[in-house]
Symmetry: C2
């Protein structure tokens, strides 16, 4: 059996492309529809009600494109809107929190895990709940890092000032003796080197994107939903604001040129 329908992925903006990359690596034959809500980005400073409303609209858009599965690539939307989305729609919907938590729990040796993310993600407590559901004995410390997203979008990932800001956010976390840190926002992998330098070499960094891609494969495989047609999958990008603004940041994320970006509304 082969299901030729595309996989749908949405994010508040461009960050979800890190998830798209990982899906492409392990499922190269799948078509992907990506939706970035660039007219209303960011989600991380907004309320649960607003984020849920936006997320429902985003999934409705993807459903019109006849997707067979939806990945909520945005950590904030996964933290605050996932349960509601699962109740509203019939296709499988995968968030980034549970896969990220699973990845971290399998890595930690001292049972001390840190989580960083946007204000909304961190105050939701979603990662702690997911980690404790797997192993209630794990200690979790956390910090919100609201300036990381604007710093990445400004292209300042490697500036010395970004290192200083990372120190301000991460030093209290470092003192909690964690050995594993979840980068709970799709922008943060672009700051991986800076975060690693501040936390020290002994701390393992978890990027949910890889874990999510594995989850997508598992779910499609078990339901006979993989596209086994054998040709290389295509990606179509849709955004809610002007495409050209998306393209320049997207190319920084993907480290390659992209095309086929259309305005969704």
């Amino acid at each position: 059996m082969s299901d030729k329908r595309p996989i749908g992925v949405f994010d508040s903006g461009v960050g979800g492309l890190t998830v798209v990359e990982q899906i492409r690596k392990i499922l190269p034959g799948e078509d992907i529809i990506y939706f970035g809500d660039t007219a209303r980005v960011p989600y991380g400073t907004k309320s649960k009600e607003t984020i849920t409303k936006f997320s429902v609209e985003n999934v409705e858009f993807l459903m019109e494109k006849d997707v067979k599965l939806v990945v909520v690539a945005c950590n904030t939307a996964s933290s605050l809107g996932l349960d509601f989305l699962k109740r509203c729609f019939r296709v499988p919907i995968i968030g980034v929190i549970e896969p990220g938590a699973k990845g971290a729990v399998s890595l930690t040796r001292n049972n001390r895990i840190g989580v960083i993310g946007t204000n909304a993600t961190i105050s939701s407590g979603a990662y702690e709940k997911a980690i404790r559901k797997i192993n209630p004995g794990i200690f979790v410390s956390k910090a919100s890092c609201p300036l990381f997203v604007p710093l990445v979008e400004e292209g300042w990932a490697d500036m010395p000032v970004t290192g200083q800001i990372a120190s301000i956010y991460l030093t209290p976390l470092k003192s909690t003796k964690i050995d594993t840190l979840i980068m709970g926002c799709t922008h943060y992998p672009l700051l991986r080197e800076t975060i690693q330098r501040v936390m020290g070499r002994g701390v393992m960094l978890v990027d949910s994107a890889k874990e999510v891609a594995r989850e997508v494969k598992t779910i499609l495989d078990s339901a006979g939903g993989l596209n086994t047609g054998g040709r290389k999958g295509k990606i179509n990008f849709f955004v809610s604001d002007e495409p050209f603004r998306f393209v320049s940041v997207a190319e920084r994320f993907l480290r390659r040129k992209i095309s086929c970006v259309k305005r969704a509304v």
Copy 2:
């Protein structure tokens, strides 16, 4: 004649409160309806089309409240959407660009003016056009400072790292020998001391809010539209996301407690 209808003010978020404060100072008898589009903030990273669409919706909301005049307190919306808004609605609509430009032109002694703002405001060229309309002989230099808004919203106005970021953005501007600098974003007055320190004491900083308030008074006065009832005016705040998030940042802007914040949609 006395027009008891309120003045409408909108901004992408909380920044427009600096304009509200100035209107209250010189027109204490006026009622004000403030709308902050906190569900879709920021505007400064988005396209003209999207900003204009949002601005039209914001003015429609204020018109339902029967306002007699609208102030577009957001520099980005003023730069990109004002002309369209003026064509769409019958009430007087005042932006922040022309008053700010006027203020700067009246202050400069060496005819060299600088402008700072969001990406969208700076790339629109709106301030240059407004300045050159008054005096085509004036030299204008400019810089976008995208991290200033998130730094203010994070409450980091007085952190040393904010001074370093200000140096990165403003040093090239300083070298153009301007004697006057327009703070072309309603958040920036909260960074006044940092900006002044980097630019040096010889550079005069222009905050459009005061100029806008004077313009509101002039227009209402000339049309017999002031509220001459003699009682103290009331302010009602409306936001498109949850009120409590607005309140905490708003109180930092106003340096006092506020109440009467309602969700608009």
